[in-house]
Amino acid sequence: MSIFNPSLNLFNCYLEALPPDWPGGFWLHLGLFVVIILAFVLAMIMGFIWFERRGIGRFQVRLGPNRVGPFGLLQPVADAIKILIKEDIIPAKGDKWVHWLAPVVAFVPALMIFAVVPFQDGALLADLNIGILYVVAISSVSVVGIFMAGWGSNNKFSLIGAMRTVAQAVSYEIPVVLSIIGVVLIAGSLSMNEIVKAQSIPFILLQPLGFLIYFIGACAEINRTPFDLLEAESEIVAGYHTEYSGMKFALFYLVEYTEVLAVSAIITTLFLGGWRGPVLPPVLWFLIKVVAVFFLIFWVRSTIPRIRVDQLMAFAWKCLLPLALINLFITGIEVVVLPEALPWTIIFLNLAIMAVLIVLWSKFFRLGGGRVEV
């Protein structure tokens, strides 16, 4: 992986060698970062797939894939080759154009998120001053792609899966955005790079409840396992990608992992201090934190069983939304009233508030019980 190059100022060193008003500098920057982002995403996804399959194997007291290459490291490559040479099937009565376009529409926004993720101070494709808003906006477009897949397949399981995705994504987007606003309030900027620079203490300490809400909401938006109702195997075969095979299925698989990587990178940037850290070079810190968040995500996946549709909606609207509103309100008060207070006071205050709120909500709400009410 070229990212581990020892010349760690790799990202911006070319700028010093060139005159600042050279018009080709823009295109050089664009080309370089497009290559870096593609290499980063593809290499990390290959690593993630191997890491997750082996890790979940350990969690389930089995070995996981260990035959291809040392420790099964080449398993993702073997899978990729296998999937590429499979037949590409299009349903006879499906909408062929929509069916063909859907994986592309789902994949492009997921990849575009990485344009504003800072790998190091100032090392990002575009330091937009609306950075995090851009992320929220772009990631909402993927839903259209999944809906297209569900409709274009002309299959009732696909359509049910797609419908579930839409309901889920629209519901969980609200608490996610509210928890992001808490971070933006403290950092005083929407730019991803500025948010990292503002974190002399990681925001997970100042915003523990916000982190929890963002983590749960983001897992639901990218359909990780406690929330993967759109492809619940026991109910609707494989959901929206039931009718997909070959390269197009691979693209949907890639979308899922690209979104996980994106969420890990965003959590790293917003809550864990991004590339900041002692001793080690910033890029390495960024990678370590991303992998740690990913580990947490698949740990949750292998621990918690899938929840039901009615529980899913009730959880978003009755639990996450009020908690996110209270969190935003408290953060606003703290930013206005206690700007000079010692950080440790606020940290312990926020941790206490989070504990009280979670206990209160767990007493207030019994989700569904044994009954199914839709």
């Binding site: 001053n129 609306i130 906006a137 839903v143 359509l159």
Partner: protein, 163 residues
């Protein structure tokens, strides 16, 4: 500046073709997808006008929420594949549309537009926040609009609720 011109023309042509497709396609689902393309082209035009915040909100609200709601509403209708046939009002509707288009084009071409010489604001977010929350800001109309929407949602729920 040549780059901006190229971007404008590409976005404008894509937007107009997508808008025509929304009206002319008989498959309602594809028409809704064309609407998404049209919204994206408009967002692109906002970016070329240095209105980055507006562009992000356009994508978030119109592409991410409104068009998804439109598609969901389409799912509730029958005859999605050829659900948009033209009927005997086609000729009158065409005439009214031509008249409206002519009036719009006439008005736009004959207005002397005021062009600001000030450079675009950078960053736009703090200026917008000043307009919204600052002295004499627009916070009251925005809140009233929010309450109006809430009332409309509650009314819809009450209307369709079973006894």
């Amino acid at each position: 500046m040549i780059g901006l011109d190229i971007a404008f023309w590409v976005l404008a042509i894509v937007g107009i073709i997508a808008a025509l497709a929304v009206v002319l396609l008989s498959d309602v689902f594809r028409a809704a997808l064309s609407l998404v393309v049209c919204f994206l082209a408009v967002a692109g035009i906002y970016i070329t006008l240095s209105a980055d915040f507006l562009a992000a909100v356009q994508v978030l609200i119109y592409v991410g929420a409104i068009s998804v709601l439109i598609i969901l509403a389409i799912m509730l209708t029958r005859e999605v594949q050829r659900g948009s046939p033209s009927n005997r009002l086609r000729i009158p509707a065409f005439l009214v549309a031509i008249l409206f288009l002519g009036g719009m084009a006439f008005a736009m071409l004959n207005t002397t537009w005021q062009v600001s010489v000030a450079p675009p604001l950078e960053p736009t977010t703090s200026a917008l926040a000043g307009l919204l929350f600052g002295e004499g800001g627009f916070i009251l109309p925005v809140e009233i609009a929010a309450i109006l929407l809430l009332a409309a949602i509650l009314g819809a729920i009450v209307l369709v609720r079973e006894k």
